[in-house]
């Protein structure tokens, strides 16, 4: 099987869908001539031309809205946010138009659109450029939200997202674009809404997504030295959540920790906990704990950033704690 970087898997997903369906097009800042700020659209302008790979000015509300309007006409836009930090200026378009139009028009119009780009902290970009947007978008009825951590998942899920008739927020990771993995030559899709057990285990369930995945896997590895066999579940889809997979694991392990990139208050982390305690109350032998960013804006300085972001050590500590081994 070809071994690809995540950025290549993303590019291939877009290229295949653009080849399959001429209604699919890509727009965003630097996606064309520059091949994408993080080179996730390398070669697409050359292959598909300026009609379908469109460099926009810096007007996120403008081009998000154009995408929505085009989607209502039957096109299938992929809107790249250079990073999701810049989706903040387009928040209203996503909240009030993308997510609501199908419901509000009683189905007269649909908005088959993908908003994609990197999410969460990269390295020393400071507080305005290091944010996690999943808590905002996962909250909103009408959206689907996906976060990917491997080339295989990235390609299969992006293809599903492009084909989906609902607006999909598709979260990538700047830090992980170069992560490599095997990707089948032949066509495949991964259904939205299915979590993936990235490491089976029996003693404790570790829930994670996006940039948290490698940290969680590393923490799980470290836990083996404490005789703990952790099951690491990569949620992959944050909305709708795969309750079944999550609950099945928790009912088996009776313990659960969360390791993710994002802030603690509310969001996906708290939602997971709320559901687990509601739906697996009698199965829990310990409270569910979360390791995530500390509750402060991301500082620039390397040492401080390092402290704010959850390390594998912090993840391990949480695992030990929910296993009552700390």
């Amino acid at each position: 099987m070809p071994n690809l970087q995540i950025r290549q898997a993303i590019r291939d997903a877009m290229a295949e869908e653009m080849a399959r369906d001429e209604n699919v097009f890509l727009l965003g800042e630097e996606v064309g001539h520059y091949n994408g700020a993080y080179k996730a659209s390398e070669g697409l302008l050359e292959r598909f031309g300026a009609k379908r790979v469109i460099d926009t000015p810096i007007v996120e509300t403008g081009f998000a809205g154009v995408g929505i309007g085009a989607a209502m006409c039957g096109l299938r836009p992929i809107v790249e946010f250079m990073t999701f930090n810049f989706s903040a200026v387009a928040f209203d378009q996503i909240l009030n138009n993308a997510s609501k139009i199908r419901h509000m028009t009683n189905g007269q119009f649909g908005v088959p659109i993908v908003f994609r780009g990197p999410n969460a902290a990269a390295h020393m970009l400071g507080s305005t450029h290091s944010q996690a947007f999943d808590p905002f978008y996962a909250h909103i009825p009408g959206l689907k939200v996906v976060a990917v951590a491997t080339p295989y998942d990235a390609k299969g899920l992006l293809k599903s997202a492009i084909r989906d008739d609902n607006p999909v927020v598709f979260l990538e990771s700047e830090l992980m674009y170069s992560v490599r993995g095997e990707v089948p030559e032949e066509e495949y899709v991964i259904p939205i809404g299915k979590a993936d057990i990235k490491r089976p285990g029996k003693d404790v369930t570790v829930l994670t997504w996006g940039q948290g995945v490698p940290t969680a896997l590393e923490a799980a590895e470290m836990a083996t030295r404490h005789d703990i066999d952790a099951e690491v579940i990569d949620l992959r889809t944050l909305r709708p959540l795969d309750n079944e997979c999550i609950l099945e694991s928790v009912k088996k392990t009776n313990r659960c920790a969360l390791i993710y990139h994002g802030w603690p208050y509310g969001g996906v982390g708290a939602e997971l906990i709320a559901r687990i305690q509601e739906l697996a109350f009698d199965h829990l032998d310990a409270p569910v704990l979360r390791e995530c960013y500390e509750d402060v804006p991301m500082p620039y300085a390397e040492n401080l950033e390092h402290l704010v972001i959850p390390s594998a050590e912090r993840g391990l500590a949480a695992i030990l704690k929910v296993c009552y081994k700390a």
Binding site: A70, C73, H103, M104, Q108
Partner: protein, 339 residues
């Protein structure tokens, strides 16, 4: 803050000029009928609102009807109208069923969008009404996207996007117009300048009175005029629509108009002087058209009253239909959404 004249621009026209605007009898009658339909529909809705049959926000178009009627005339099948929350007029002018419109206001199953949207969210795809948006300015990028799709597909369709005078300062408007100007999209932006955004007159929202001054920065053509008749409004709008259709060139038009009612049903509009409202009423395009029918085309007062009766009956029937329409099925709230 600026000091803009709240009074309407004086209408200096000779009787011949007046007659010229209404020269074609059939067209004039047709325009009058369509404007009157909108007015009577909304008066009926206003009564229903006071009787508690309609709730939420209800923004009436009374005074601005000529614009919607002219727009419907200027468009071809498949073209699109996108507007804000003051859209009953567009719906009716484009041919939406008054029963469905009224049912929407009542929040009933037979509503234009099944009672889900209400007055602020009218959509009627088959008639070319593409909304119906209630966050000021946020439909401008969306409408720009419709125009983008037309160019992408080469389908020859034109999008006409309306907004209020109060909307022109907000960012999304600027972004949409920037893209339309940059990409040369087949769209016409129309500012319906009715002199107020809620209770706020132009002088507290506009740095410069002439809104079309902005067109230069977007590389668009511009036009600006006082709405006095369907005929004249149609002529000016049609030129921009053609420009969009044939040249893929956007235009920014400012149409100076007036709303006779408050911003919404809950606004008593105490911020306006009586003489101001009266001065604008003198120029009400509906009234002017009625006068033209009598003076230029020798229709009698009885003729006009008969027409009025017919329309009033149509709109009363719409209200009765709406009242009889059932509530949406409880399950309708889960339709058209992934849960």
């Amino acid at each position: 803050m600026n000091d803009f004249n709240p009074m309407p621009p004086e209408l200096v026209e000779t009787p011949e000029e007046f007659a010229g605007q209404f020269a074609d009898r059939d067209q004039t009658l047709q325009a009058y009928r369509e404007m009157l339909r909108i007015r009577r529909f909304e008066e009926s809705a206003a009564r229903a609102y006071t009787r508690g049959k309609i709730s939420g926000f209800l923004h009436l178009y009374i005074g601005q009807e000529a614009i919607a009627v002219a727009t419907a005339q200027a468009l071809e099948e498949g073209d699109r109208v996108v507007s804000a929350y003051r859209t009953h007029g567009f719906a009716l002018a484009l041919g939406s069923d008054p029963n469905a419109c009224m049912s929407e206001l009542y929040g009933r199953k037979d509503g234009l969008v099944g009672g889900i949207g209400g007055s602020m969210h009218f959509f009627d795809r088959d008639k070319g009404l593409w909304g119906g948006y209630a966050i000021v300015g946020n439909h401008i990028p969306v409408a720009t996207g419709h125009a983008f799709a037309s160019k992408y597909k080469g389908d020859g369709r034109v999008t006409v996007c309306f907004m209020g005078d109060g909307a022109v300062g907000i960012g999304p408007v600027h972004e949409g117009m920037t893209l339309a100007g940059l990409w040369k999209l087949p769209i016409v932006f129309v500012v319906e300048n009715n002199r107020y955004s809620m209770g706020t007159p132009l002088e507290r929202t506009l740095p410069v009175e002439d809104i079309t001054q902005r067109a230069a920065g977007y590389g668009m053509k511009r036009d600006r005029f006082r709405v006095t008749s369907v005929h004249e409004t149609h002529r000016r709008l049609k030129a921009a629509v053609d420009h969009a259709r044939k040249e893929n060139q956007p235009t920014l038009i400012e149409m100076i108009t007036y709303r006779f009612r408050g911003h919404s049903m809950s606004d008593p509009a105490k911020y306006r002087q009586k003489d101001e409202v009266n001065a604008w009423r003198q120029q009400d395009p509906l009234e002017r058209t009625g006068r033209a029918l009598q003076q230029v085309h020798n229709m009698s007062e009885e003729d006009l009253e008969a027409l009025d009766d017919e329309i009033v009956a149509e709109m009363r029937a719409a209200a009765e239909f709406a009242d009889a329409s059932p509530e949406p099925d409880p399950e309708a709230r889960f339709a058209n959404i992934i849960v």
